[in-house]
Subunit: 423 residues, 2 copies
């Protein structure tokens, strides 16, 4: 497959990718849906009339919306038709768009000339805890090696409800939060700026398809049609605040201070060539969590830190989505097992993804082993946790032997100093 839009072989956005996003530009303040191709965006609002396949011909209005929810609320055959239509329109052999200079002029925008936005109205955001190595690392640090994994962990994908309002798009700065902590066990709690700010390297999956009904279970084997696509997700975490507040109802204000997503939703279809074996599961999960097909993905994940002192970037983590113990189908089945209804646009976070290697851990908590092993940056500086002025960037891409590369772009956020508390 070759597009008439030119891009280099290491582009995140070849014609085989075509991820969806929402953007505005200096020229147009109205939010438009677009797909990324090379360094360009194809504006779907402008070319909605070209979706003339049997399924989408009567649904072209979904591409005129300011969010992706209406498109996501259609079905997998609709999404596949959209992908095929776009690949055909962008193909080097296809004249419709290529040879229409006026339409091309209107329909293509440079990515550098736009502002990206959260592309979806996120009804509910759920965060899981599905990397075995991450759960083990955290367990060892706080409870010792013997009791590292809780008893339920290998029986169900442990998860919790997160905050939708504070999901922000890559590039949004995050303020160091104030909150309560317990600096000394048994002493009085303290109120002040968080001292242990952290990132969490995650991949988020967006739910698609028509809403399900309250009471309806979606078992793992039937979950595929509900999975629209994926983004990178930095689940910023205030570790010291979390430790004090989370008993017994889980993380709350330590997490709702902001969760950053990458702007482009990479579809399941684009990732299909990178499906790999599932993580071996022992014990065998209950039937509602079982699926026979492979649904794990070889997505190389990296985290960069850039400090305020230098333009030099250090890659502090090299992980991979394939380290997930529970698949996103299983997460979705767990989400709905008691009858919780899904809405298109719901977001499921993978949980921090850590591999076995010490440089594959997906958080500073693990990389610095609770602050005991400072991480050395290329600038010569050291980090135990994230400091004010640090920019944290998650990156992700797939690459196979044929040279096919599907990328996620960047999920970036700068930590700003705390806003002083005034009584």
């Amino acid at each position: 497959m070759k597009s008439f839009i030119e891009y280099s072989s290491d582009s995140d956005f070849p014609i085989e990718n075509l991820p969806y996003g929402v953007f505005t530009s200096d020229k147009n303040a109205q939010k438009h849906i677009g797909v990324a191709i090379g360094e360009w965006i194809l504006d779907l609002n402008i070319i909605s009339h070209l979706f003339d396949g049997p399924l989408l011909k009567s649904k072209q209005n979904v591409f005129k919306e300011e969010k992706l929810n209406a498109f996501m609320a259609l079905t997998k055959p609709h999404w596949i038709e959209a992908r095929e239509t776009l690949q055909k329109l962008l193909d080097v052999s296809s004249p419709a768009l290529q040879n229409n200079a006026e339409l091309r002029e209107k329909a293509f925008v440079k990515q550098t000339n736009v502002q990206m936005h959260v592309p979806v109205e996120v009804g509910d955001y759920t965060d899981f805890y599905s990397s075995l190595q991450h759960a083990t690392n955290v367990g060892i640090m706080f409870r010792g090696k013997e009791a590292a994994l809780f008893e339920n962990w290998k029986h169900l994908p442990v998860g919790y409800h997160g905050r939708s309002s504070s999901i922000v798009i890559s590039g949004t700065p995050i303020h160091r939060p104030y909150g309560q902590t317990l600096p000394v066990e048994g002493a009085a709690p303290h109120f002040g700026p968080c001292k242990l700010m952290d990132f969490e390297l995650e991949v988020g999956a967006f739910v698609g398809g028509p809403p399900t009904q309250l009471g309806e279970r979606v078992c793992a084997k039937d979950a595929e049609d509900k999975i629209f696509g994926f983004v990178l997700l930095n689940d910023w975490s205030a570790r010291d605040i979390q430790k004090w507040e989370y008993i017994p109802l889980g993380p709350f204000t330590a997490k709702n201070l902001g969760s950053t997503i990458s702007p482009w939703i990479v579809t399941l279809e684009a990732l299909r060539p990178f499906i790999v074996d599932n993580f071996p599961q022992d014990p065998t999960p209950f039937p509602y969590l079982r699926h026979d097909d492979k649904f794990n993905f070889d997505i190389k994940l990296e985290v960069d830190i850039q400090t305020e002192k230098s333009p030099v970037v250090t890659t502090v983590c090299r992980s991979n989505y394939r380290y997930m113990y529970w698949t996103v189908k299983q997460q979705l089945a767990q989400q709905t097992v008691t009858g919780c209804n899904l809405r298109p646009g719901d977001l499921l976070g993978s949980g921090t993804i850590s591999g076995e290697a010490a440089d594959s851990f997906g958080s500073m908590l693990e990389l610095s082993w609770k602050g005991t092993k400072p991480v050395r940056l290329s600038t010569g500086e050291e980090r135990k946790f994230i400091q004010d002025g640090d920019t944290v960037t998650l990156r992700g891409h797939c690459l196979n032997a044929t040279g096919l590369r599907i990328g996620f772009g960047r999920c970036e956020g700068k930590l700003l100093p705390a806003i002083p508390f005034q009584e």
Copy 2:
């Protein structure tokens, strides 16, 4: 104050109340905003042109919406002007509506002739745990008297993020969920229908006012303008599922199976005559949680159970919102302390509200003391937890010495049998 609409002295909805809801009728499938008065609803969509005060004259469109969010996104002065406009229109001395037969005919609908709907697009739902007696009861049952309250409980309003999609309106049946449980400690988990279904007697507060920005704290002393009004909330809970899944990230599928709210949002202004002393707090909370004014409310709360065998209803719980240790201002301050942004329509659940008396406990878990003391119903039946076919109804009202009664209506839900799991 007297309305030309007649109602009995024990009506939940006198002219001093005027709670907001959203309804459809057989005659009109479009959702309209209305206020309850006696046994009637005044349809605000029909009379939106009568909001001609200085603030609302240019905002009449908010009453034409299908949800209350746009109205709630205005400010407290707008809400007060709306209340004053409505009280004037409904006053016995006011001819505008009373003497316009044609408009009256269109603008008033009997409550028995409508279907009520969730009146708000709930962006985020947070559930707290703010009744001292409830937290103590649960603590004693699971950890013993000495360790009943966790160390953080009196320092901050403990809470967690809930599920928005499964918030349903009174009258919606709930299916007994399937899920994983651990019937025997140390043995294998079990998958099957929940055996310990419970209600939780709560009051929910809806956030109003313009959205806040990410990074913005709303301290307790500044929180009043963010509180639009209140509903009854039954936070259905699958106790056995909760116990197995909640470590370490909190309740998840045990709670997202459905949360029922009463249809009428009773405004803060309507509840103002029932403000009572705050619960004494020791230790004094941190400054961000402090407010000097009284912001506790004398709302009598009751829970009824009706089984399938008989029309006889048993009131199993008589509690009061005034038993709250943390005020809703403090809950809202906690929600935002790390910079989490609010959106109008966010819902804050109080947490189960239990008093000191054994019949004031707000859940079957407490009323039956973990199933050890069955609750005797008026029908002669016994209940440890909720059985299939039981209808659980929360009711709430305020009543003062002058005879002023402000009611919440009913928050009702019937538990249906589990939908069998098919592999």
